[in-house]
Point group: C2
Chain length 205, copies 2
């Protein structure tokens, strides 16, 4: 889980950075087992063998730890989506894979583990920065695929790119956002194919 190492980490140097990672890794395991909402920083400190004061040296609050876990989780989904997109050659197939990978990776990461879902739901409800940054990166990835498809001649070019990006993002959103996804389990088998079919028809030149 600790892919965190790669994001703009604090300038406190590598030692500090390791401790932060260690806390996040231990907290992930702890929240996974006992839930996020009902665990306090004291519980966490006791469980991982650090003092509460020591944890507070690195994280301002439980939410700050939750944000890091959430950021890791979203990075993991994003990496999976990017890998799926990169496997395809042409933009239409990239779009199909993007849709499929979003649904599969989100279902697995948010729902396999009901306790991680709690963190993802809090992130989406309160619009944590990690959740907003993730949405923006997904929109950017989508826009890159659309741009490429316009260049290859696979997609139409009349509609403004921003408008097309946003409307397709809206079609994907119920499967990206854990709060919506929890009410869409009946549709997750068929929706990726049906919706990417519709989206591709809308893009035909």
């Amino acid at each position: 889980m600790s892919k965190a190492n790669t994001y703009p980490v604090s300038a406190r140097g590598p030692m500090t950075h390791d401790v932060r990672d260690q806390i996040v890794a231990a907290a992930t395991e702890h929240f996974r087992r006992y839930g996020y909402e009902k665990t306090t920083v004291s519980d966490l400190a006791k469980a991982i063998g650090f003092s509460k004061a020591y944890i507070y040296k690195f994280f301002a609050s439980k939410q700050a730890i939750g944000e890091m876990i959430c950021a890791n989780c979203l990075r993991e989904i994003e990496a999976e989506v990017r890998a799926a997109v990169d496997e395809a050659e042409r933009p239409p197939e990239k779009l199909r894979r993007m849709f499929k990978a979003i649904v599969e990776a989100s279902l697995r990461l948010f729902f396999q583990d009901r306790n991680l879902y709690e963190i993802a739901a809090a992130a989406a409800t309160d619009r944590w920065p990690a959740a907003r940054a993730y949405e923006e990166r997904i929109q950017q990835l989508l826009q890159d695929i659309l741009q490429e498809g316009r260049q290859t001649g696979d997609f139409e070019r009349k509609t403004p790119l921003d408008e097309v990006t946003m409307s397709i993002y809206l079609v994907m959103r119920p499967y990206l956002n854990p709060l919506l996804l929890q009410h869409s389990f009946d549709y997750t088998d068929d929706a990726p194919a049906q919706l990417s079919g519709l989206v591709l028809r809308s893009l035909s030149p």
Copy 2:
């Protein structure tokens, strides 16, 4: 569960039917004010001046009353959507209006009144018959518009009608279903136009 009694109406005769309506009307007011979840049939009986036993002669449970209120609420949304569709002449405009009316009517009926939302949410979560029937009628309305658009030559005819209907229904679903709609308030201003634009591009012949 006894939706059967009104749609179609029971064979018990008009008197019985009036009392049922009276109970439903009073219950709607009561739930509106005090909430659905925390009101018991006893509370309700006391408030509307009937005995509990008398209410139970007409409704098997609180949920049976809730189902009737929910059915009325969904019928109201549906009537508004149909009226909006009927105002338009051509199928593409009918689709646009359908989308817009769904969002507006659902927002108003489910959320203006937080206490009615509770009933709608229970209906959607537990898939009450009234909610399922509503989904089917909306799908049918959508299919009728698509069929008409194929006849007028406004819409393409290559893709199987069922597939097109289902994929557009999936695009509309986050705005039809109150559980999803509650997480989409940030998008309800722009989504109808953006999504119907996308859908209409996907339908172009």
